[in-house]
């Protein structure tokens, strides 16, 4: 072993370029199929029909755009809230039950996660439409129908269901690591269960809530298929507006500017979330 030891660093130095060569094909493809297109969009938003900021000025001065932008945020916030509230008890129960029930609960999360998103949205169309499941049940009880499809409520219900696994999985992975003896210790020191939950368990689980909420919110902001199929003109989100500008009106500059706004908002949110996520990973690494 001692004879070969000095040669290893030399060999390593000689092959130092190799990791970069291995990553190169993926990076080249990435630049060609993501980097270049995104650059094209930014340039078009600044250069069509002529160079300048006119597309951005148009975006922030037309009331309809601001309404849609605001609505996109409102819908995403609702979706995130619904996801947090329903995922929290679910993820908690996953940590508290035996392995068999946990497997079933996990399957309930993973199967919809894997089933095609279009098919899941289709099932929401069937459920929510005026001649759909929910309305025919209401009618069989002699109640009048409610309008669900092409409303914001319908969009939120459908999107939250599609995005729920993205909330449950990170939440569960954080909760799994929480030492439940801390709760017992608090209770043995006289804290009531509620107090022990709010002062110990909740704060420890917050990184999971935070991570899941950021993922869900970001994905919701850019959602396209579910709002397009479940929503109507009064629940249009930013993505649909981008699509209309580009495909129907051929306004690449305006559509591009909207896309850039969506992109910037997404990355700002990610940057805000990054420090928290990183500290969470560091903690996980220490454990």
């Amino acid at each position: 072993m001692s004879a070969s030891e000095p040669t290893i660093p030399a060999a390593e130095r000689r092959w130092a370029w190799r990791p970069y060569a291995l990553a190169m094909p993926a990076l080249v493809l990435l630049l060609a199929v993501i980097g270049y297109p995104l650059l094209t969009i930014v340039l078009r938003s600044l250069s069509e029909p002529q160079w300048g900021l006119q597309n951005y000025i148009w975006f922030f001065s037309a009331p309809i755009n601001l309404t849609v932008l605001q609505r996109t945020f409102v819908i995403s916030t609702w979706v995130t809230l619904v996801c947090v509230v329903s995922a929290y008890p679910y993820a908690y129960l996953m940590t508290a039950v035996g392995p068999r029930i946990r497997l079933v609960l996990m399957l309930c999360v993973l199967i919809p996660f894997w089933v095609s998103g279009v098919v899941r949205t289709l099932s929401w169309v069937i459920l929510l439409q005026d001649s759909g499941v929910i309305n025919s049940i209401l009618r069989s009880f002699g109640l009048g129908g409610v309008r669900l499809i092409r409303t914001q409520t319908g969009v939120v219900i459908g999107m939250a269901q599609v995005l729920l696994p993205f909330m449950i999985l990170p939440l569960y992975s954080v909760m799994k690591g929480i030492d439940l003896r801390l709760m017992r210790a608090a209770q043995s020191l006289g804290a009531r269960p509620f107090r022990a939950f709010f002062t110990i368990y909740l704060p420890l689980s917050l990184p999971g809530v935070y991570a899941g909420a950021i993922i869900v919110f970001i994905l919701a902001l850019g959602f396209y298929i579910t709002p397009a199929l479940l929503g109507g003109p009064r629940s249009t989100m930013l993505s649909t507006l981008v699509q209309t500008q580009v495909l129907s009106l051929l306004q690449w500059g305006r559509g591009g500017a909207m896309g850039v706004v969506l992109l910037v908002v997404t990355f700002v949110l990610l940057a805000l979330a990054a420090p928290v996520m990183r500290s969470r990973y560091r903690e996980a690494g220490r454990r």
């Binding site: 990791p19 493809l29 297109p37 609960l105 279009v118 269960p193 970001i218 199929l229």
Partner: protein
């Protein structure tokens, strides 16, 4: 943690409702697919297999299904090869460039679908890649790469690199070491990356909607068009097939994985 029976009951009930909310809506496609009438109105009338027949015989449906299979298979192989190579490279780099490059490769996961779609569409219009197999494969590969990278990297983190040194000290060259030592040990990560890549491509809709044309449609595009155009229960039949295929795949995979773990203990 001690829980009062009441708390336990409420918690159980809430979770049951959430589980139903997660799974039940998707099941609604099953009864709809046997509808006798050409309608998606609930409740379905009568019973017939005609929509399954239509899926097989109508070229709109069968071709888009075959296209999706073709694209997803190529993407799965391509993304797995590129992703595995990249995962190896990142694993053997210094931490700082590795983190930077990892973030770059993961960006397709967070870029809003429509923004990516109009960008790719713009470039494809210039390069005449709209509605081509190559166009679909390139776009889907980029979207599938993050999943492969994550799966393989997770496996590489627990891989003991001294095993490679041992193989090398016994005279194996780099390729032999990779083939006989490294690859078998990280195979689970590579395999799940392959599956994820296939599923990502098979399911991709947003970018596909932009780069499709009447000559080359994938299944999700056909489903989307069918939902927006008419109430054709064939979509419900396709949904049912996909639902059962994925359930069998995941359920089977999880059972296999569980058994393997038990066997190892």
């Amino acid at each position: 943690m001690e829980m009062k029976p009441l708390t336990r009951a409420v918690l159980g009930l809430v979770c049951l409702l959430v589980a139903i909310w997660l799974v039940a809506p998707t099941l609604v496609v099953v009864p709809m697919s046997f509808n006798e009438n050409k309608s998606l109105a609930f409740p379905p009338q009568g019973f017939s297999w005609q929509w399954y027949q239509n899926f097989v015989t109508n070229p709109d449906w069968s071709n888009s299904f075959l296209n999706s299979l073709k694209v997803a298979s190529i993407v799965a192989v391509l993304a797995t090869v590129l992703g595995t190579l990249a995962a190896f490279g990142l694993d053997r780099m210094k931490a700082r460039p590795a983190n930077l490059l990892r973030m770059l490769i993961l960006t397709p996961m967070v870029v809003p679908g429509v923004v990516l779609a109009i960008g790719i569409y713009a470039v494809y219009l210039d390069t005449r890649l709209v509605g081509t197999l190559l166009g679909f494969v390139l776009a889907h590969t980029i979207l599938a790469l993050p999943f492969v990278l994550i799966a393989v990297s997770a496996n590489l983190e627990v891989f003991d690199r001294r095993l490679e040194t041992a193989a090398a000290s016994l005279g194996a060259n780099a390729l032999t070491t990779f083939r006989t030592v490294t690859l078998p040990l990280i195979a689970p990560g590579v395999l799940s990356g392959l599956l994820f890549a296939f599923a990502t491509s098979f399911d991709e809709i947003v970018v596909s909607l932009f780069i499709t044309n009447p000559y080359l449609k994938t299944l999700p595009v056909q489903i989307f068009a069918s939902i927006t155009r008419d109430a054709d229960p064939t979509v419900a039949a396709v949904g049912t097939i996909l639902l059962f295929a994925t359930t069998i795949l995941i359920g089977g995979g999880m059972l296999l994985l569980g058994r393997e773990r038990k066997g190892r203990q």
